[in-house]
């Protein structure tokens, strides 16, 4: 497929998006995120893929929803790379996995547990799903600058939401519990559903990806339902990357 043609699922062509793309799961979050850009314009909406493009510090940036899960996220990233995007930040909510975490704390994802079925269509399971370190530190520096508490760490990317939140009713309950406990023991900080595919596909295409999640600790109240801290941090991280790229800085 030619880059000047509309991509099959996201219904975008070269020029419709910037190099820099934020990737929420929920199409409903695209517009609130785009409102943080200058001159936001809705570019396309097809299936779970909604796209807005605007600018930050004069640089074209976009937000594209991936839908839930690695299968649809992998399609979004593949098609966005075909039309010129090369820097991705996954942004969304996740379950907290460490007992000393708290609702509202931000997780800057360094790597992901490939607890999903999509990435094994790309690379054997031994290959690590890692974020780009420059994107990781752009996010960490943004959180630090804005004064939002955050931690760096590994995320579990799972294929089954209800397998995580209601494991006991699954025929595989015992295995789900055992693996969850192992991931916690390994230090995983957050549980979400798309990072592993975004990271592995980005490695293969030699593009940059990272992720920032707002954590929610089971049984606690939501303190920032509009996620201003999360979205503000993601946008500030894009500004950091745009600044460093313009300066031609090689990391670190």
């Amino acid at each position: 497929m030619n880059a000047t043609e509309l991509q099959h699922h996201i219904q975008l062509k070269a020029g419709d998006v910037g190099r820099y793309v934020l990737l929420p799961g929920d199409p409903g979050r695209c517009e609130p995120i785009a409102q943080l850009f200058d001159d936001p314009v809705k570019v396309a909406s097809n299936r779970e893929y909604e796209t807005w493009t605007g600018t930050l510090d004069g640089e074209k940036v976009s937000v594209v929803s991936t839908g839930i899960g690695c299968p649809s996220a992998s399609i979004a990233v593949e098609e966005l790379i075909k039309i010129g995007a090369d820097t991705f930040i996954r942004v969304g909510t996740s379950g907290a996995m460490q007992p000393d975490s708290f609702t509202g704390e931000l997780a800057v994802i360094t790597a992901a547990i490939r607890d999903e079925g999509t990435t094994s269509h790309y690379l054997p399971m031994e290959f690590p799903a890692v974020a780009d370190p420059q994107v990781v530190f752009a996010l960490a520096d943004a959180a630090k600058t804005l004064g939002h508490p955050y931690r760096l760490g590994v995320s579990q990317s799972k294929d089954s939401f209800y397998g995580e939140v209601e494991p006991d009713r699954m025929p595989m309950a015992e295995q789900l519990h055992r693996r969850w406990d192992a991931f916690v023991a390994g230090g995983a900080i957050s549980s979400e559903m798309e990072a592993a595919a975004i990271f592995v596909i980005s490695s293969i295409h030699r593009v940059r990806a990272g992720g920032i999640m707002r954590m929610w600790l089971d049984g606690t109240d939501d303190t920032d339902p509009h996620m201003e801290k999360l979205l503000g941090t993601a946008v500030q991280a894009l500004r950091n990357l745009i600044r460093d790229d313009k300066a031609g800085m090689s990391w670190p």
Binding site: T110, R114, P124, E126, P128, P133
Partner: protein, 258 residues
């Protein structure tokens, strides 16, 4: 086992090593690394594990050889953590896995392919073997300070040296070659034999690990030229590793001061 006792394999007791430890594979590389410390002393020597301790910027640091491969490397890290170490820098040589990576370049290992049998005794294979990124950043800063070309990326941690270097003679040749090509397509930068276990064990013990490698070997297994073989000296690598550890020590001190 009591921490005041000597550890079973490495023969080291608490107080004999610093928080910060360099991990070469080869025991023969311990002394040359220790010579870059202030006041280096040989602490213990047992099997493939040799340990020296000295100081960098007034901080106690050590070097312990791991031997070749993840099984012996995991033992070294487990026992070093028991006696108080918490920051580990793997240092060694590795083969290039991309055409644009040259003999003599430096590689900073951000994550490792778990192409080995040890780390699955700790965590399911889906779990990524990832370096501590603050330490990775410090090592990248150290590497850049040498003026060498620096690559930051993923290494293949394999269990079989000859399976990589002479895959054609292995009964599972087709699988070895197919997987090697997949790792390259995924962007792996170099091939070595210990990082995956060190990173996974470190994750489970909540300690920090990173790795810095000198590229010594071509991505296509082409023999090295005389000129390339003459670059065997590890001066650049060790200078980079020491500079990276100093950077980490400085960052830790700044964090405490805050």
């Amino acid at each position: 086992m009591n921490v005041t006792e000597r550890q079973h394999h490495i023969g080291v007791a608490r107080g004999e090593v610093g928080r910060y430890v360099f991990l070469p594979g080869d025991p023969g590389r311990c002394e040359p690394i220790a010579r870059l410390f202030d006041d280096p002393k040989l602490v213990a020597k047992n099997r493939e594990y040799e340990t020296w301790t000295g100081y960098l910027d007034g901080e106690m640091v050590s070097v312990t050889s791991t031997g070749i491969g993840c099984p012996s490397a995991a033992i070294a890290m487990e026992e070093l953590v028991k006696v108080g170490a918490d920051t580990f820098v793997r240092v060694g040589t590795s083969g290039a896995m991309q055409p644009d990576i040259r003999v003599g370049d430096l590689g900073v290992i951000q994550g490792a392919i778990r192409d080995e049998g040890t780390s699955s005794h700790y965590l399911p294979m889906e779990f990524p073997a990832v370096a501590d990124l603050e330490l990775t950043r410090a090592l990248a800063i150290g590497a850049r300070s040498t003026g060498k070309t620096v690559h930051i990326g993923i290494s293949q941690s394999k269990d079989s040296f000859y399976g990589q270097h002479e895959p054609g003679r292995m009964p599972v040749a087709a699988r070895l070659q197919e997987r090697w090509h997949a790792w390259m397509a995924g962007g792996a930068i170099c091939s070595e034999m210990e990082a995956a276990a060190l990173y996974i064990v470190a994750a489970t013990l909540r300690v920090r690990a990173g790795g810095i490698m000198k590229i010594f070997g071509h991505w296509d297994q082409a023999p090295m030229t005389e000129e390339e073989l003459a670059q065997e000296g590890l001066g650049d690598l060790l200078a980079a590793a020491i500079a990276g550890m100093r950077e980490m020590i400085a960052q830790d001190r700044a964090a405490v001061a805050k």
